[in-house]
C-alpha cells in the first residue's frame, strides 16, 4: 500500500484544466519533490492530497484513508505556501491552541521543544502579527509537524528561512521517518530534501526519476540541471 496514492486525477477550475489525469504514487517513508513551472498544478495537487479540494475524477488515498476523513487528518502534516498562523495569538498560544485542537499529549513539552528548536523562545509572547516573515514561517512549520504526521505535504517549506534554520529544518525532517511530498520550483531546494523528483506541467506528469539522472543528463549535454529541467518542461 502506498502512503500517497493519487490516481488518474482530473481537476477543472471552470473550463481550465488544472490537473489532467495525474498519477503520483509514493511508498511509505519515501520522499519526492514535485517540480513544475508557475501554474503547473503543484499547489492544486497538494490541496487535493490534504483534502481541501476534491478532484473531479480519480482516486486519492492517504495511507488507505480518503483525505477528508478524521483518520487522514491525524496523519497528514500540511504546510501551504505562504502559510499564516493566527495573527491575534502569540507564538506560544498558536502552538498550544492548535495542539489542543489536535488533542496532542505532552503539549507543554512539545511547545517548549519547538520554541527552542526553531529559536522562537524570545518571541513566545509576541503576537504573530508582529513577527518577521522568517519567524512566521518557522512557526508555521512547527504547527504543521507538531502532531508528528506520517505524511507531510509541504508547499515551498523553506521560503523566508535563513540558511542555518533551513539546515536545522531539513535535518529534523530527515529524522522524522515520514513520507514527504515537497512542492517547489527551485531545484536546489528539491535536491536538499529528496533524491527523487516528479516534474509536472499543465497538470500532467512529464518526467519522474532520480535527481541523479537529471544531473547526469546535464553533464552529458554540458548544461546546468536547471537548463535540463527547463528543456523537459518545454517538452510537453
Amino acid at each position: 500500500m502506498y502512503c500517497i496514492d493519487f490516481n488518474n486525477i482530473k481537476k477543472y477550475f471552470g473550463n481550465n484544466v488544472a490537473l489532467n489525469d495525474l498519477t503520483i504514487n509514493i511508498n511509505c517513508g519515501e520522499s519526492i519533490s514535485l517540480i513544475g513551472p508557475n501554474g503547473a498544478g503543484k499547489s492544486t495537487t497538494i490541496k487535493i492530497l490534504a483534502g481541501l479540494l476534491e478532484p473531479d475524477s480519480g482516486d486519492v488515498l492517504i495511507s488507505g484513508y480518503k483525505p477528508n476523513t478524521e483518520e487522514a487528518k491525524k496523519i497528514i502534516g500540511y504546510l501551504p505556501e505562504d502559510a499564516s498562523p493566527y495573527l491575534t495569538l502569540s507564538v506560544r498560544e498558536n502552538l498550544e491552541y492548535l495542539g489542543a485542537l489536535r488533542g496532542i499529549d505532552d503539549l507543554n513539552y512539545k511547545t517548549d521543544f519547538f520554541l527552542d528548536f526553531l529559536k522562537l523562545r524570545e518571541y513566545e509572547r509576541n503576537k504573530v502579527s508582529s513577527l518577521s516573515r522568517g519567524n512566521r514561517q518557522k512557526l508555521s512549520l512547527a504547527l504543521a509537524i507538531m502532531h508528528e504526521p506520517k505524511v507531510l505535504l509541504l508547499d515551498e517549506p523553506l521560503n523566508y528561512l535563513d540558511i542555518p534554520s533551513q539546515e536545522d529544518v531539513i535535518k529534523y525532517f530527515k529524522k522524522m521517518n515520514s513520507t514527504f511530498l515537497v512542492s517547489t520550483h527551485i531545484m536546489s531546494i528539491a535536491e536538499r530534501f529528496t533524491d527523487n523528483v516528479i516534474i509536472i506541467n499543465k497538470g500532467q506528469k512529464i518526467w519522474e526519476g532520480e535527481i541523479k539522472q537529471l544531473k547526469n543528463r546535464g553533464e552529458e549535454e554540458n548544461a546546468s540541471m536547471e537548463a535540463v529541467i527547463s528543456e523537459i518542461m518545454g517538452g510537453l
Partner: protein, 469 residues
C-alpha cells in the same frame, strides 16, 4: 488639479458599478430633497434621532475613511515623480466620493427635520458634514486609534448635543432648528479643513507611512490552552479574547494590525452602556421610547452581534483548523463560542431591561428583554455563516487586500439575507405574534446552519475557493 491622475486613483480603488451606485444615491438624495420641499416639517421630538444618526455615521466616516492606499501605490505609483500635492488631492477627492455612500443613509432625515424651503440647503449641509469628516479622517489617520479617539469622541458629542438641548453652535444644528447657524458652521469648518488638507496633503502619505511602520507588540499574558479538550480550547479562545485583523502594506514593509481585548473589557463596556441605557429611560418622554428602542435593537442586538460573527472569517486559518478537525465540528464550535461571547456582552443590557420593567412597569421592556436574549446570540451565529459564505476578505500579510467597495455583490447578498431578519426583529417590538414566530424562525435558521454538515462543508469549500490559508 491632475484629472487623469484622479481618474486613475479612482479606477484603481472602486469599480465603475460602485461609482454608478454613488451617483444613483446622489440622485436619490435630490429626490428626497424634492419630497422634503413638499412634506418637510420640523418635529422637535425627532431632533435626537437626527443628531444621533449623523453622529453615528460621522463616527464611522472619521474612523474608517480617509486615504485609501494600496500596496501597489507604494510599490509603483509613489515611485513615479508625480506632483505630491496632485497625488494627495486625487486621494482626498476619491475618499470623499467613496464615502458618499454613507451620506445616503442620513439623507432621509431631510424629510422630517427640515422646513420644506430649506430641504435643498440641507443637502449642502449633509455634504459639508461629509467633507468635514473625511478631512478630519485624513488628518488624523497618521495617529494610532487611541489618539484619534481623543479627537473623535468630543467631536461626536458636539454633533449630538443639538439633539438633546437647544444648541445652535454645531454643524448638526442645521437639522435641529438652527438652519442658518448650522449651515454657516458646516461651511466654514469644511472650508478651513479642506484648505488645511490641501496645504498639508503632500506630506500626508509619508507621515502615514511612518505611523504604519511602527512595530508592535508583546502580549502581557499568554492564554494557556494546554491540557484542554478540543471543545474547551475553541470555547476558551472565543470566551477569553476578542480580536480582529486589518492590514496595510507599503513596498517591502508590512503592517498587520491584530488588536485583541479581553472579553471582560467588553463586559465592562456593556455595563457602562447598560447603565446609560437604563438611566436614559427615566428622563425620556414616553413618545421617545420606541425610537430609542429601535436604535438599541439595531446596534446592540443586531449590528454588533452580526458583525462579530461576520468579520470572523477574515481571521480564519483553514490550513490549521480544518486540517486538525472536520469543518462541521470546527465551524459549529466556533459559531457557538462567538455566540456565547456575544451573550456575555448582552447580559448587562438584559438585566437593564429587566430593571426597567420592574421599576417603570412598561411591557415594552420585557419585550426588549426577550428580544435581546433570543436574537442577539442568534445574530452572531447567522453573521458567522453569512460571513463565511460572502465575506471575501481574508486577512493575511500576503497578497493584495481589496477594499469593501470592491465586493459590492457580496455586500448586496449579505444585505438581502439580513434585511428580512432585521425586519423580523424590528416588527417583533410591535407585534407579539412576530416575536414568537421570529424567535422560532431564527432558532430554526441558526440551528440548521450549525447542525447541517452539508452547509458547513459548502462554507469550507467556498473559503478554500477564495484561497483561504
Amino acid at each position: 488639479m491632475n484629472i487623469k491622475l484622479l481618474k486613475f486613483v479612482l479606477k484603481t480603488r472602486v469599480t465603475s458599478g460602485y461609482m454608478i451606485l454613488i451617483f444613483i444615491f446622489y440622485f436619490l438624495q435630490i429626490v428626497y430633497a424634492v419630497m422634503a420641499y413638499f412634506v418637510g416639517r420640523t418635529v422637535k421630538s425627532e431632533f435626537l434621532l437626527a443628531a444621533s444618526l449623523i453622529a453615528f455615521v460621522s463616527f464611522m466616516e472619521i474612523s474608517l475613511a480617509g486615504f485609501n492606499y494600496k500596496k501597489s501605490d507604494f510599490d509603483f505609483l509613489f515611485m513615479i515623480p508625480l506632483n505630491k500635492n496632485d497625488l494627495a488631492k486625487s486621494f482626498f477627492i476619491t475618499s470623499i466620493l467613496i464615502s458618499s455612500l454613507f451620506n445616503f443613509f442620513i439623507s432621509y432625515i431631510l424629510l422630517f427635520t427640515e422646513h420644506g424651503y430649506f430641504a435643498f440647503l440641507g443637502l449642502i449641509d449633509i455634504f459639508a458634514i461629509l467633507v468635514i469628516n473625511i478631512s478630519l479622517s485624513t488628518i488624523l489617520r497618521k495617529y494610532p486609534l487611541r489618539t484619534r479617539l481623543f479627537v473623535i469622541i468630543p467631536l461626536i458629542i458636539w454633533y449630538v448635543i443639538p439633539g438633546i438641548i437647544n444648541f445652535p453652535f454645531s454643524p448638526v444644528s442645521a437639522f435641529t432648528g438652527h438652519i442658518y447657524y448650522g449651515t454657516f458652521i458646516s461651511l466654514i469648518l469644511s472650508f478651513l479643513l479642506v484648505l488645511y488638507v490641501y496645504n498639508k496633503s503632500g506630506n500626508l502619505p509619508s507621515t502615514y507611512y511612518k505611523f504604519m511602520t511602527r512595530r508592535s507588540s508583546q502580549i502581557k499574558e499568554n492564554v494557556s490552552f494546554s491540557g484542554m479538550s478540543t471543545t474547551k480550547a475553541i470555547l476558551s479562545f472565543n470566551l477569553k479574547m476578542l480580536g480582529g485583523v486589518s492590514i496595510m502594506r507599503m513596498g517591502s514593509t508590512t503592517k498587520v494590525y491584530a488588536p485583541r481585548f479581553k472579553v471582560t473589557y467588553t463586559l465592562i463596556l456593556s455595563m457602562g452602556l447598560a447603565v446609560a441605557y437604563t438611566v436614559l429611560f427615566f428622563y425620556l418622554p414616553k413618545s421617545m421610547y420606541f425610537i430609542v428602542e429601535i436604535y438599541y435593537l439595531l446596534y446592540a442586538v443586531i449590528i454588533y452581534p452580526f458583525t462579530k460573527g461576520y468579520s470572523a472569517s477574515s481571521t480564519e486559518r483553514l490550513w490549521l483548523s480544518i486540517m486538525a478537525m472536520p469543518s462541521y465540528k470546527y465551524f459549529r464550535l466556533n459559531a457557538i463560542g462567538k455566540s456565547l461571547s456575544t451573550g456575555i456582552f448582552l447580559v448587562p443590557l438584559i438585566i437593564g431591561n429587566l430593571i426597567l420593567f420592574v421599576i417603570i412597569g412598561n411591557i415594552l421592556f420585557i419585550k426588549m428583554f426577550a428580544i435581546t436574549m433570543a436574537f442577539g446570540m442568534l445574530f452572531t451565529i447567522i453573521g458567522y455563516y453569512i460571513g463565511g459564505f460572502y465575506n471575501t476578505r481574508q486577512i493575511t500579510d500576503l497578497g493584495e487586500l481589496s477594499g469593501y467597495a470592491r465586493h459590492s455583490l457580496g455586500n448586496v447578498i449579505t444585505v438581502v439575507i439580513l434585511f428580512p431578519l432585521i425586519l423580523i426583529a424590528i416588527l417583533s417590538v410591535f407585534l407579539n405574534l412576530v416575536l414568537y414566530i421570529g424567535i422560532i424562525a431564527l432558532l430554526i435558521f441558526s440551528f440548521s446552519l450549525i447542525l447541517s454538515k452539508k452547509i458547513n462543508k459548502k462554507m469550507q469549500d467556498r473559503m478554500i475557493k477564495r484561497d483561504f490559508v
